[in-house]
Symmetry: C2
Subunit: 349 residues, 2 copies
């Protein structure tokens, strides 16, 4: 089937670009001796995770236990969940998963460490726990290098747990002093820091500027989107994911409406203006989204589409798009080569 | 099972409130002689659509053909799709659906009408087509009453199609002059206007102020959310949908992080400040969302949660939440009574 025969809206992946993106970032990390541990939240597709592993990734990163279970079912055997896992139901699943794969998690408080320790008690398993550090994002994470040391010591003292190192997000230039100091303090206490895990596609080509970082978690580098374009991390001709839509209305000379809205693109703005880039009409602006409509201002365009015309959109945030579609289509030179089920889509727990 | 045993994040529906919301709006429309045609985009669950029909709705509204197919499979037999259906693949499905249910669609251009006519040609079917009118929203729709008449005439002249009336969204006070004039012009031409379809939960209690309106499409009235609260259309104690989350981090005295982010709540702001209302901490503000984290500012709260505590969130926009979860849980007085699959979730086409 040709791409032109896909009904819209459809998420299509240019497989040549996908493969190039996977290879290029792997080569960069290899060159700098940094382990690649890609974040699968972007694609949620086991087959793409397997491509990343085949290219040289040491394992993967999942944000949710449910994503990790799907990936383990597909044979991925080294999984990092940089998230505080809390509550009896999840801890039971975590223990089951730890029996199947090389598993590591993050923690940022004594309460989380206690829960992990209780879950592992008596299982004979040893779970690797990294300390999450808040190096400026203002989300989770211990607030100072001294707190990181304190939590690392608690992990080393907790039966069933193993201190695995430090984790932060994103790897902005500011992380240096925090990570450097935390590593120094830990080594002074005689505690080995086997992994320092950084991440983020926006800063991916600067990973080597942080000497502490031993592994890197990037997600969006495989697809690209308007956010990664604006960050300067990727170029337009490297973007592998587009959403094919149809112009369903041209109610005024300037206005058009496409058959994708917030249930297609998500409402993520991420500081950008508008909700996507229309490749055929780059001067057009997707000014607002309803759930199933995208309202486009074509006033800056000399040529304008007619009703029924198909246009391709680079979304603001590809990770959100993956989570809205049950299937995506891999194309090569305009031909449909594969249809992938987004197997870890909607894994909310 | 008790609600306290549900793992998080979980979408729970208070069934008493759901039933009351369905009954109350039906009674209001009955009182004013307006047909109820609820929009199922909000819930995407056949069982709730059946509750709405049982309460007195004449049929349902779907935004996507795929949603309509799911609902038809569940036995719903009167479906309105107020959307321009375009392209061979969809028109073939539309024709198949028209054989199974009493189907109506909207159109706002000659191009769309031509496509519908071609699809129906030779089938022996007659598809009901309403003219979509842009009465101020600036999305789809003809721009003037005169254009509405012109398109209605085209529909009446097209074999296989039947003019079914006029449709607009939302039913704000401004729609009056447009609809009044369009109906007058059509009647002057001897064209019956059997339906004038309005919609929107925000303005639902003012539906009777528009004498032209014969049917009403509301979606969110069954669940409620922060948007309908702000619009004054519902009260907090009527909101039936909450998302149970867990506090996974308390990195600073003021900051907390819950295990729901933009893949749980969506990023919809709809003009609101923050991403949800935490019922147990109403002074708290959900200030930012990552995909799986919600960052909460508790600085205005005298009491603050500990790690592991569960909190209930009223989201900004319930329709988006439904589309992110495969299942939702119906509870009554704290007990799980039913688990519904969101069968029309992700029906993007």
């Amino acid at each position: 089937m040709r791409i032109d025969n896909l009904d819209t809206p459809a998420v299509v992946i240019d497989l040549d670009r996908l493969e190039t993106n996977i290879a290029r970032f792997q080569a960069y990390l290899d060159r700098h001796g940094i382990a690649n541990r890609p974040h699968i939240k972007t694609h949620k597709i086991p087959q793409i995770a397997q491509m990343q592993i085949a290219a040289g990734a040491v394992g993967i990163t999942c944000q949710k236990l449910g994503e990790a279970e799907v990936m383990a079912d597909a044979g991925i055997d080294d999984i990092f969940i940089p998230y505080n896992i809390i509550g009896a139901a999840k801890l039971e699943r975590l223990t089951a998963l730890a029996r199947r794969v090389r598993l590591s998690v993050a923690a940022d408080s004594a309460a989380v460490v206690a829960g992990l320790g209780n879950a592992m008690a008596g299982t004979g398993l040893e779970l690797t726990v990294l300390v999450e550090c808040d190096t400026g994002m203002g989300r989770c994470g211990v607030q100072t290098p001294a707190e990181a040391v304190e939590l690392a010591l608690l992990i080393t003292r907790t039966s069933g747990l193993r201190f695995g190192g430090l984790m932060t997000y994103p790897s902005s230039p500011e992380i240096g002093p925090f990570m450097h100091e935390a590593v120094r303090l830990l080594r002074n206490r005689g505690i080995a820091v086997e992994r320092v895990s950084g991440g983020g596609t926006a800063g991916m080509w600067r990973a080597h500027e942080h000497p502490e970082i031993t592994e890197y978690r990037a997600g969006m580098y495989i697809y690209g989107d308007r956010y990664t374009l604006r960050a300067g991390a990727m170029q337009l001709e490297e973007c592998a994911l587009t959403i094919i839509t149809t112009v369903v209305s041209r109610p005024t000379p300037d206005r058009g409406v496409i058959d994708g809205g917030s249930k297609t693109f998500s409402s993520d703005l991420l500081g950008l203006e508008g909700y996507g880039l229309i490749l055929e009409y780059p001067e057009a602006r997707i000014v607002s989204l309803s759930e199933e409509h995208g309202v486009v201002d074509f006033s800056r365009c000399s040529q304008r589409p007619v009703v029924g015309e198909r246009v391709s959109v680079i979304p603001n945030h590809c990770c959100m798009v993956s989570n809205l579609f049950d299937e995506i289509v891999g194309i090569r030179r305009g031909n449909v080569e594969v249809v992938w089920r987004v197997a870890a889509r909607g894994m909310v727990r």
